[in-house]
């Protein structure tokens, strides 16, 4: 079996599945249950200065799919509402009992060096393996000048990271907020400040839904609501892109990344790792299903790695980064067209109406006069290979996108004669 163990910026863990800083890692009781279930590490829910904040009642809300499966999850909880002393004591005890698991302590403090200088030795004394700087929390804490209020200003990110590097020997992971235009800016700032790694994404500002009778958004706190932080499967595409942006940015390339955002199974994790993540953090999936999900995540990842001949995570880590590029470097001469497998087709007509109404009118609906049976066929001459029919088809594998040899060599937009600004050059 493949070896799932990792050494992430100096932090060792038996597997890359960590629980993100969140309610599941708020106290020893939960963390011990997580370790018993097999999680490789945890990022302890964010500690701050005493007195701890107080939470409101009614804290979460969600976006649902057709079968009430949770697609997106929203929360307005603050950092730990337990005392610093109690948390530090529990961290010490748990680390002692579970020495092979990674325990990273998430921290959020005002932008004052002394505050960080005071807390870091106490965290180090617990035996924890590293710290994560919470620059991402988008709700509540930014109103107090912390969380994403820091993460949105690259200069602050660099400054606080530098203070931490100065006051502790522990690896410093900087957690980034996605509520920003260009994720590369704070990542570069973190690197400039000496960060050992970045973790992303934190949650996205969100309002999931409204109670239209009461005219108030969820979660409803006594007749009013506020925006929360969005996570769960819905945010995975945003997270994957941001991870890829950092992984392929020449300035941050090689900086260890802890991938976060909508990871619920082994395949999600493999995708983050393929785009450059060295470990992954999970929260929503565990909150919805319990800690036991790590069992299937580990088993699935191991078996997939075995089937591909990958012995360690390093064997495929970042392997998809080289294939993630700017639009202008895509091959203008590549062509694919849809193919409908008539044996699998259930004749629902979804591909037809999608293409006919909203795309390129490239699917024929053929009606057998005698039986009334509908048959759907791709018009190969008109199909632009957009994938819409494949996406809307309810039968997996019925519609496939087939590459069509054009006999033409690679040519990107910068070389394309149709581009008025083409830099037509011989490729080396």
């Amino acid at each position: 079996m493949a070896d799932l163990s990792i050494n992430f910026c100096g932090i060792k863990a038996p597997n890359p599945f960590w629980l993100a800083s969140a309610p599941p890692t708020d106290k020893a009781y939960n963390v011990i249950r997580a370790f018993e279930a097999g999680w490789g590490g945890v990022v302890w829910k964010t500690l701050g200065e005493d007195p701890p904040p107080v939470n409101v009642s009614s804290r979460y809300s969600a976006t649902y799919g057709k079968n009430r499966e949770v697609i997106g999850f929203n929360n307005i909880e603050l950092i730990t509402d337990r005392s610093l002393e109690l948390n530090l004591q529990e961290i010490t005890e748990v680390k002692k009992a579970w020495p092979d698991r990674a325990i990273v302590v998430s921290l959020m403090l005002p932008c004052e060096e002394q505050a960080w200088a005071d807390i870091l030795p106490r965290v180090e004394a617990t035996g924890a393996d590293g710290i994560e700087l919470n620059f991402g929390c988008p709700h509540g804490m930014p109103e107090r000048g912390m969380g994403s209020a820091v993460g949105q200003v690259p200069e602050y990110v660099e400054q606080v990271t530098a203070w931490c590097k100065k006051h502790t020997k522990l690896p410093v992971i900087v957690k980034l907020t996605p509520n920003i235009t260009d994720i590369r800016r704070p990542a570069r700032a973190a690197k400039a400040g000496g960060a050992d790694a970045v973790s992303l994404i934190n949650t996205i500002n969100s309002i999931t839904s409204l109670d239209l009778d009461k005219m108030v958004a969820y979660p409803n706190v006594g007749g009013a609501s506020t925006h929360g932080g969005y996570c769960g499967p819905a945010v995975k595409p945003v997270a994957l892109n941001m991870v890829a942006e950092i992984a392929r940015d020449p300035e941050t390339h090689g900086l260890p990344i802890s991938g976060i955002g909508g990871i619920g199974n082994w395949k999600d994790a493999a995708e983050f790792i393929a785009l450059g993540a060295g470990c992954v953090q999970v929260c929503t999936a565990a909150m919805l299903h319990g800690f036991r999900i790590v069992q299937e995540m580990k088993d699935g990842l191991e078996r997939w790695m075995d089937s591909k001949g990958y012995n360690t995570l390093d064997d495929f880590m970042g392997k998809a980064v080289q294939n993630t590029t700017d639009w202008k470097f895509l091959n203008m001469n590549y062509k694919s067209i849809a193919h409908i497998n008539q044996d699998d087709c259930i004749k629902c007509g979804r591909c037809y109406v999608a293409c006919e109404d909203t795309s390129h009118q490239s699917i024929f609906q053929l009606v057998d006069e005698a039986t009334g049976t509908r048959t759907y066929k791709v018009n190969d001459d008109e199909c632009v290979g957009c994938n819409l029919c494949e996406i809307t088809c309810p039968v997996q594998g019925c519609i496939t996108m087939v590459a069509v040899p054009t006999g033409k060599p690679y040519m990107n937009w910068t070389q394309d004669p149709r581009n008025p600004r083409a830099e037509i050059k011989e490729t080396a």
């Binding site: 079968n67 259930i346 629902c348 007509g349 979804r350 037809y352 109406v353 609906q365 009334g372 039968v395």
Partner: protein, 459 residues
């Protein structure tokens, strides 16, 4: 009181116990089940379920409305195509219509969306504020509809909606036709047929006159003279005869007559229930008869059919209901003689084995006898000859004994239309009768308007 069976004992069970055997055959979906089931619909384009539905209900649309918690929208989507959508959701053979056509019935899944139950969910749970349809401005026209069954009611409703006034002439004491008198009790529970009629009449402009029987105290010639048009939704009032000696003996009766008594009975324990019963036939009425008599307490119920299972007009689903109710099904045997006891009452029946000779079914000469306390014939219905006996009615062109109509449900006599089981189109399904009535109403309306030279109702 059923004259023919008056000497047969009544069940030992109480009315309450027996009523427990006639609750919903297919219990309704609750909100959670409806949410799960509606999520399975793929919202097909040009959907096969809609194409196969005789009334062309936009199934994908109403199911999407259910899923989006717009139950009233779902209900109106159904009702605008099929005003008797509530009874159709209970009695339609969906297994050969929409649910057979459902793309999720494909080999790979084999689990169609439960369209019938979802339709029922929408109509049962809608909270409509009054009747959902408004009448168009009055046309000043008055149309006679004969028969308050599904075809007549559907026709009357659409005519009223288009701005016409309607008088329905109905022979029975209650409206509803077979929904009230003919469908198995466990398919239309809780007095649903009357509730649906009340809802339908809520549009206004429809007067129902009961005790009015065509060929008896109402005549086509008069209706034709007095009204702007006439729609005949007569149904098939006569049960086909076996053509055997002893057919009128006590103990032998038409299944539809027994079912009508059962449906109207206030006290099920007062019905005569034979210990051993034979049901001749293999249509849905035969199954309804066999299953209901079994549920009333008959010990041995045997359905006898002259051909094999594949030729039965009862669907596989219906056959399964019979099997689940311990009804014995005997195929390849035809009635030969009614056996009578000394008192001249039915004591059983002699059957002749049948077989196929090429494509033809023939008697083999081999016979056997079945003992029974009662025999119910369910070998099909026919037109009541008296209904069309007056001189004008006699001029109607017929296909066999059914009334000939064109594809807009016009008979050959101008101003006279017909639909439902009494015409030659279709397979005598409730949902087809509803469509006949609806389309006949549109033809009547447009023919009258064309004659008047006025603009047609916008479609």
């Amino acid at each position: 009181m059923i004259e023919s069976l008056k000497y047969i004992p009544q069940p030992k069970a109480t009315n309450e116990e027996l009523a427990g055997h006639f609750t919903d055959l297919a219990p309704p979906l609750n909100a959670r089940q409806a949410a799960i089931e509606s999520s399975r619909c793929l919202y097909c384009y040009d959907a096969p379920c809609t194409r196969i539905c005789p009334t062309s209900i936009d199934v994908a649309s109403f199911i999407r409305n259910i899923h989006e918690k717009n139950v009233n929208g779902a209900a109106v989507t159904i009702l605008q195509q099929n005003i008797l959508g509530g009874s159709c959701s209970r009695v339609c053979p969906t297994e050969v219509l929409c649910e057979d056509a459902c793309v999720r019935n494909h080999d790979a899944e084999g689990q169609p969306v439960k369209i019938g139950l979802l339709q029922r969910f929408a109509l049962d749970n809608a909270t409509l504020d009054g009747h959902p349809f408004k009448r168009a401005p009055s046309t000043g026209k008055k149309i006679a509809v004969v028969g308050a069954g599904p075809a007549g009611l559907s026709c009357a409703h659409r005519l009223a909606m288009l701005g016409n006034d309607v008088v329905i002439f109905e022979a029975h004491d209650k409206s509803g036709g077979l929904n009230e008198y003919g469908i198995a009790k466990y398919k239309l529970t809780d007095n649903f047929a009357q509730k649906e009629v009340d809802f339908l009449l809520g549009i206004g402009g429809i007067e129902v006159r009961h005790g009015q029987k065509l060929g008896d105290n109402v005549h086509l010639k008069e209706l034709h003279a007095q009204y702007d048009a006439v729609f005949l939704g007569l149904g098939l009032g006569a049960s086909r005869a076996l053509g055997l000696t002893g057919e009128d003996a006590p103990g032998l009766m038409a299944a539809v007559e027994y079912i009508a008594e059962l449906r109207q009975a206030d006290d099920l324990s007062k019905l005569p229930v034979p210990r051993r019963a034979i049901v001749i036939g293999a249509g849905n009425t035969a199954i309804d008869m066999a299953v209901q008599i079994q549920r009333l307490g008959a010990e041995e119920v045997t359905m006898v059919y002259r051909r094999g299972f594949d030729a039965m007009s009862a669907t596989h689903h219906e056959q399964d209901i019979a099997k689940a109710n311990q009804v014995r099904m005997l195929t390849w045997a035809q009635p030969q003689q009614v056996l009578l006891d000394e008192a001249g009452r039915v004591r059983g029946m002699r059957f002749e084995r049948t077989a196929l000779d090429g494509a033809r079914m023939v008697g083999t000469g081999l016979t056997f006898e079945l003992q029974a306390d009662a025999v119910f014939k369910a070998i099909g219905q026919a037109m009541e000859s008296a209904a069309l006996a007056d001189p004008l009615a006699a001029m109607l062109k017929r296909d066999g004994d059914k009334i000939h109509v064109d594809d807009a449900f016009r008979t050959i006599l101008p101003g006279i239309y017909a639909g439902g089981d009494c015409v030659s189109l279709g397979q005598d399904l409730t949902v087809q009768a509803v469509e006949h009535g609806k389309r006949a109403a549109m033809a009547i309306h447009s023919d009258i308007q064309a004659k008047k030279g006025a603009a047609k109702w916008p479609t």
